[in-house]
Symmetry: C2
Subunit: 238 residues, 2 copies
Amino acid sequence: MVEQAETLRRAPLSRDRILRAAVALADGTGIESLSMRNLAQDLGVVPMALYKHVANKDELLDGMIDVIVGQIDPPERDTTWKDAIRRRILSARAVLRRHPWAPLAIESRTMATPAVLAYLDSVVGTLRAGGFSANLAHHVMHTMGSRVLGFSQELFDDSRRAGRSGAASPGPAAAMPPEFAAQFPHLAEIATVASHDDESVVGQGCDDQFEFEFALDLLLDGIERLHEQGWAAPRRPR
Amino acid sequence: MVEQAETLRRAPLSRDRILRAAVALADGTGIESLSMRNLAQDLGVVPMALYKHVANKDELLDGMIDVIVGQIDPPERDTTWKDAIRRRILSARAVLRRHPWAPLAIESRTMATPAVLAYLDSVVGTLRAGGFSANLAHHVMHTMGSRVLGFSQELFDDSRRAGRSGAASPGPAAAMPPEFAAQFPHLAEIATVASHDDESVVGQGCDDQFEFEFALDLLLDGIERLHEQGWAAPRRPR
DNA sequence: ACGGTAGGTGTACGCCGTACACCTGTCAAT
DNA sequence: ATTGACAGGTGTACGGCGTACACCTACCGT
């Protein structure tokens, strides 16, 4: 009876259900507290049950990344390469912002996952269709770096902390301690610059949409310039 | 007797000696096998002995990062902002290349360490001395992202694997499997482009010096253009 | 009716970080 | 010379981790 009830109560396990639960758990309590044991408990199952569906924890993480990357919008067809890529990257960013643990997880994988490769391949395809040489497209991909996936290095802000220990903090930003300003005057200066129309910026995180688009457009403009000039690889010095 | 000999044989522990041993261990066998136990063994000491000198493993990692970042050259005085920053970043890159585990370690820390902050502050100082507004300097720092520390996102190459599981692999690159080319044709194309004068690129890693400087100069040129045009923050739309 | 198999269970192992009590050698103050 | 504080290395132990392996069980095609 009880056993039957329990069996009926919970949906059968599946790789997909596991991955979705893992993403939810990482979103909720941070990637650091995502353990096979915690995940199994969330699913009402014993830890080893997971291993019938994923080979190990690394593969679980790969699967989680694929779930996320798969949510990025497909490329827009009827527009310029520049606009298509810009939109795509901003879509990637929107997706990744919902999963603050994802950037670090993506970076820490040894090999890119199939979904990531498919995404990158598609971006290169957009460049090629826009008339880029394979060579220039290659350099462009390197130039974009992680930005092509919608995130950039954020040394100051707390989205990284959010990714590690739970959801984004709701409280107001911590004030900048005075000895910080004394020790790092230039950082203090740019941190309090009135670019963001709020009073204290450090701790609140400055990699907001504006910063991201600023860098993205600077890169896209530079790339466009190279492309229009018919850039070709310089003669190798060696 | 024996005890005296042992005591004499090994230098006394110190925070500095621990940090240097930890860096050496991570360099040699990868960050993943850097455990308090392994490190203690390398130092000929019991694991808990380390805790008299570092608070915990996180602080150990912070200390290791500071050791590395402290090796970046100081800024050159008698030159333009652009040249000074370019040299500085390439110096940072040269340092980080010797420690493949460092990028991921730096990125995974919750807060920037004092040495990292000091470095960033100094870079901002160079910009300000070059006539940049605090506002533009702020955006420039965001634009640079992790490149200011000498590394960029490397989704393909194996330096990441090197950082995780030991020193850089000496063997030749693995050939690209044919089904890869079928599934990701654009990636296959740009991967085999003759920009690098060797036959197979995937697996050998393409974030070499050329790629890094390509992106760096693209950014610096774009920044210079903004600076010369007297860029100012646009009116905030809201 | 029955054997195979897919999938959930239970136990156990070795690794990790580190809390806590303990020991020991050194050195300043008596 | 004695003592006692203290810095620093030791030993033990705990809880958590990933996961190997043997098991059990419910279902399915024959």
